[in-house]
């Protein structure tokens, strides 16, 4: 292991530049020289942006925030894979030691009708928020909770719930899917709540509500390619989609829709 060996590499990046939602946009090639292999991919873009500012060109816009792989802001296709394709890694955690001098790197925004481009690599992912607002919650007003240990939850169930809850809502699943489908995201949210006793009372209503919202947002359908699973930076399994598929059938065939009943306010 090189202890502090800062190898420097020279690369060429083809970055999607698009002024605004209406601009057709195009890939623009930039040379970035002397990038330390210890830098992260986003730090490489920082370096590129400093170069652009020095030349009087507008820097590349890209979403990023925590830069430690948890906020889910970063969202870019790197050489045809969401977040660059390293297993369980977001773009901000991707490091330049994976690249070599002379590499040509293509950087593009997520592509989906439900995620319109705002500028350059920045897309609008509010479709995800709308899905959650439609039902991705437990109805439990603050103050009404029983003691946390009143509901015993077997460790295996809590672990399963956690694995699905690890979703950071980045949208890599949508970006990776040949159909631009959001099923892994939506199903992960459901699986999280449905492995817990707290999620059971609203289970079927929740399933049909979020799926309806997902469809309305214009995401594509799932044809079981599992690109989403391969691209997920949190390693969420396709199993969650199977769970959702089953619950959706139950919701359609068994569940009496809540809207047909008086609702005491939720």
């Amino acid at each position: 292991m090189a202890k502090s060996g800062h190898d420097l590499i020279d690369i060429k990046v083809h970055v999607w530049r698009q002024k605004d939602a209406k601009d057709p946009g195009k890939l623009v090639k930039y040379d970035v020289a002397g990038v330390s292999t210890h830098a992260s991919f986003l730090e490489m873009l920082d370096i590129l942006n400093e170069q652009l500012v020095a030349k009087g060109e507008e820097p590349v816009a890209f979403d990023h925030d925590c830069r430690e792989g948890i906020c889910g802001s970063c969202s870019m296709m790197i050489n045809g894979r969401p977040h660059g394709g390293q297993k369980a890694t977001t773009a901000c955690q991707l490091h330049m030691r994976l690249f070599r001098t002379g590499d040509e790197i293509y950087v593009e925004p997520w592509r989906a009708a439900a995620f319109p481009v705002i500028k350059d690599l920045v897309v609008d992912r509010t479709a995800f928020d709308r899905v959650i607002a439609a039902g991705g919650f437990v109805t439990a007003n603050c103050g009404s909770a029983p003691d946390a240990n009143d509901n015993l939850i077997p460790k295996e169930h809590a672990d399963k719930a956690f694995e699905a809850a690890a979703c950071i809502g980045c949208g890599a699943c949508v970006a990776a899917c040949p159909n631009g489908s959001a099923m892994l995201f939506v199903a992960a949210k459901l699986s999280h709540l449905h492995h817990l006793p707290q999620g059971q009372p609203e289970r079927l209503h929740r399933t049909s509500a979020v799926v309806t919202a997902m469809d309305a947002a214009g995401f594509g359908n799932c044809s079981n390619h599992y690109e989403c699973e391969a691209a997920c930076p949190k390693d969420i399994s396709r199993d969650v989609i199977a769970e959702m598929n089953k619950d959706f059938a139950k919701a359609a065939f068994i569940h009496r829709d809540r809207s047909t009943k008086a609702d005491g306010g939720g």
């Binding site: 202890k3 502090s4 800062h6 990038v35 210890h38 830098a39 920082d46 370096i47 400093e50 500012v53 009087g56 820097p59 816009a61 979403d63 925030d65 925590c66 830069r67 430690e68 948890i70 906020c71 889910g72 802001s73 369980a88 890694t89 955690q93 490091h95 030691r97 500028k119 920045v122 992912r125 509010t126 928020d129 959650i132 607002a133 991705g136 919650f137 437990v138 109805t139 439990a140 007003n141 603050c142 103050g143 909770a145 029983p146 946390a148 240990n149 015993l152 077997p154 809590a158 672990d159 719930a161 956690f162 809850a165 690890a166 809502g169 999280h192 492995h195 707290q198 999620g199 939720g266």
Partner: protein, 639 residues
Amino acid sequence: MKLDARIPGGPIEQKWQNAKFDLKLVNPANKRKYKVIVVGSGLAGGAAASTLAELGYDVACFCFQDSPRRAHSIAAQGGINAAKNYQNDGDSIHRLFYDTVKGGDFRAREANVHRLAEVSVDIIDQCAAMGVPFAREYGGTLANRSFGGAQVSRTFYARGQTGQQLLLGVYAALSRQIGAGRVTMFARTEMLDVVLNDAGAAVGIVVRDLVTGKIESHAAHAVVLATGGYGNAFYLSTNAKGCNVTATYRAYKKGAGFANPCYTQIHPTCIPVSGDYQSKLTLMSESLRNDGRVWVPMSTTDIDKEPAKIGDEARDYFLERKYPSYGNLSPRDIASRAAKEQCDDGRGVGPGNRGVYLDFRDAINRDGEDKVREKYGNLFDMYERITGENPYKRPMRIYPAVHYTMGGLWVDYHLQTTIPGLFCLGEANFSDHGANRLGASALMQGLADGYFIIPYTLGNYLAGVDAKGLADPKSAAFTSVEAEVKGGIDKLLAIKGKRSADSFHKELGTVMWEECGMARSKESLTRALEKIPKLREEFWSNLSVLGGRDSFNQSLEKAGRVADFLEFGELLVKDALVREESCGGHFRVEHQEAGEAKRDDDKFCHAAVWEYKGTDAAPVRNEEPLVFENVKLATRSYK
């Protein structure tokens, strides 16, 4: 500046109960007539927005991120404290209260801290009810772990992602209210100023739509700021890139007192800086210190040796040596300074010799690699991705980094700032952690403020406000602030210099870290007070902001935030200079005893509250005396 903390009467255990009874209520049917603005959607802001909406208020919530789910609370790793005493190990509300006051080096307000400890137990219940997947024992009960500064196991956690799981719970509750139409959410919208009415009460905010660039006004009966801390004044910190001081600093400029800006927390276990391109530092959760042992080589000759080849006799487990009873779980400020000491002594490891080892060899030998993987797997993976080194085989290298800021807008017991109608929650306020925050207490405070405190205290304020008196966003009060904000933006765009905002931010960060970091002295602080104004001057003459103001423009966003940091940094340094004592995260080299921080309770047992007096006038320092009736002021010892 009048600083009435409005602490309720009665013994400390009854203060909050008494207050809750005495606080005025708003009739359920009238609540919807009151409009409340919440800025920030993290644990404090999101919880406040959703809970206020559940109560029936008409809420508008703002965040600069693309979704409320991305607020920086999400990055908290280790856990959340609560005095549940599920482990039967002697915990109690009083002990959590005591630990927090002591951990804060006796610089927090007793009544607030006690209330925090009281509601901590409700937080866990509420979060579990929301479906937060906390770690469980095989029998189905909640699991706990230990954190620094405590000798009981009271930290609830969800692997290394407790913050994300709690935030998702808050976000779910918030989303439910958004779906129900009770909260209007404004994402990618940045607050640029607060608006006061003629009586000096907060009646709205001015924001910039970050997608269209449009400047807009929003009116409300009350404004709640939950906009996080200012750790990014140091540029390199564990904070997210977007974290900024703008909302609180602009509120300060409008008249809100800013308390204790010099209280900054340096977290001992972060991945060290690797080069000048570094854009942020990554925390390795404090929970790692449950099993990891911190050491450096005994001798400077060993620092470049492979760590595995250094025998136990040649290792200095300095935390265990210096603080035998707390050992590796010493509080953050103490562990950080100890690490710095060893590196200053020339025994640091890694690039630039600014690093110490955090070694899991013994835990792996004792429990097996699988057990260690189960507990910390995601953190180990993260470490490996960033450094390219395998922490199962080679000890982690860690070094302290700026992590949290205890200072913030001054608030009274009701969480109201010195501006009536302007409330401040979470890390953005100053109230609960004194001069140092204990691990796993930030999440606790954010949720306490948002879920269980503001819903009561805000009602009390609104009960005294006429519901029909909603300010008009087209009135002069708003348009004049809008004009100010637009003027500020145009000024930034008009400089047309050469340097990016980022480059100024980096330079400011270097000054702050070098002169006002883990060890501060009169000389260093004085130097900083010379350098910062010069840097600010260059900023205003040589800044380059490309792109327009009426479109999505990250450079412009950044420039505005850096402009505020360049002013705020100076305030932070001033506060550090005046506070001639060492306490918690604030360490003045002049004030120490055998290497340990030395408080001066006679002169500084107070919160320092800064009052803005105008661009060209020096800010005025006010004091809120701190009275300790339930905890004896003592020298903090973890030996």
